[in-house]
């Protein structure tokens, strides 16, 4: 039980790192007007030229591997319920590492989503 909880939490942290790296990559590109198809391609090209996006992909794959290891050993609904902690990890880590605001509406909404996912998984 404790082993599975630790596995899921480490999968969460590694996956969150992947999301943070993705976001830092898209934060570091220049201005693009994404309403024009041409600049969408330019934007994608610029994002793919960032090291952070590839580091993020590597983190995502590592996270997925740990996740599968947890799924293979644990009860599906427990693992998925714990998985909803991801939203809280992102809420706080996006604040500390990317400077995104933690505000009341966001906090209330995130907790509601987490509670909802746990209810669905328990049903």
């Amino acid at each position: 039980m404790i082993k599975i909880v630790l596995l899921v939490i480490s999968a969460e942290i590694v996956t969150a790192l992947g999301h943070l790296l993705f976001k830092s990559a898209t934060n570091s590109v220049g201005r693009h007007d994404l309403r024009r198809p041409g600049s969408v391609f330019k934007f994608v090209g610029e994002v793919l030229s960032k090291k952070a996006i590839w580091a993020g992909l590597a983190a995502m794959m590592a996270g997925l591997a740990i996740w599968v290891a947890a799924l293979a050993q644990g009860d599906l609904s427990l693992v998925y319920s714990l998985g909803s902690l991801q939203y809280l990890i992102i809420l706080f880590s996006a604040h500390f590492f990317l400077g995104e605001k933690i505000e009341r509406m966001k906090v209330i909404g995130t907790f509601l989503v987490v509670a909802g996912i746990i209810l669905i998984m328990l049903s």
């Binding site: 999301h19 943070l20 993705f22 976001k23 990559a25 898209t26 934060n27 590109v29 201005r31 693009h32 994404l34 969408v40 934007f43 994608v44 994002v47 996006i53 991801q86 939203y87 992102i90 809420l91 996006a94 604040h95 990317l98 400077g99 995104e100 605001k101 933690i102 505000e103 009341r104 509406m105 966001k106 209330i108 909404g109 995130t110 907790f111 509601l112 989503v113 987490v114 509670a115 909802g116 996912i117 746990i118 209810l119 669905i120 998984m121 328990l122 049903s123």
Partner: protein
């Protein structure tokens, strides 16, 4: 700093990303089942890989995943990560609703309560004003 809320366009992109994610998982699962191998050992590893490599449906799933990745980076370009992530939980709603409508699966009260909380949560999060990089919006 310009305060901007989540726009409808970005919201729809997030939902599209969720639909893609669900579709990709469905296709990959179907592809993996079709190989007829349910336990992987060192002995049948080569057979497992070669059967999967020839599975069109598995490749289709992968293609959807790659397409989804591009949608996601566009979403991240325009929205806060801490907004995009919870709003991306629409798949938790889509799957049971689709299962109820098209597959006539029963959705019990606890599940409806969970769906309701998620809808409410997404509403709250999408009402929050996004900060930092709003100048790009």
């Amino acid at each position: 700093m310009i305060k901007s809320r989540l726009t409808l366009k970005i919201f729809l992109l997030i939902v599209l990303n969720d639909i893609g994610d669900t579709l990709a998982q469905f296709l990959m699962k179907k592809g993996l089942i079709q190989t007829g191998i349910n336990s992987i050992t060192l002995v049948n590893m080569a057979e497992f890989i070669s059967k999967n490599a020839g599975s069109l449906i598995l490749w289709a799933g992968l293609a959807v995943y790659i397409f989804n990745f591009f949608i996601w980076i566009i979403v991240l370009y325009r929205a806060d990560l801490s907004v995009a992530m919870p709003v991306g939980s629409t798949s938790y709603i889509l799957v049971p609703v689709v299962a109820a409508v098209f597959l006539h699966e029963r959705v019990d009260a606890l599940r409806w309560a969970g769906i309701f909380l998620i809808v409410l949560g997404i509403h709250f999060v999408s009402q929050s004003k996004s900060g930092r990089r709003a100048e790009k919006a």
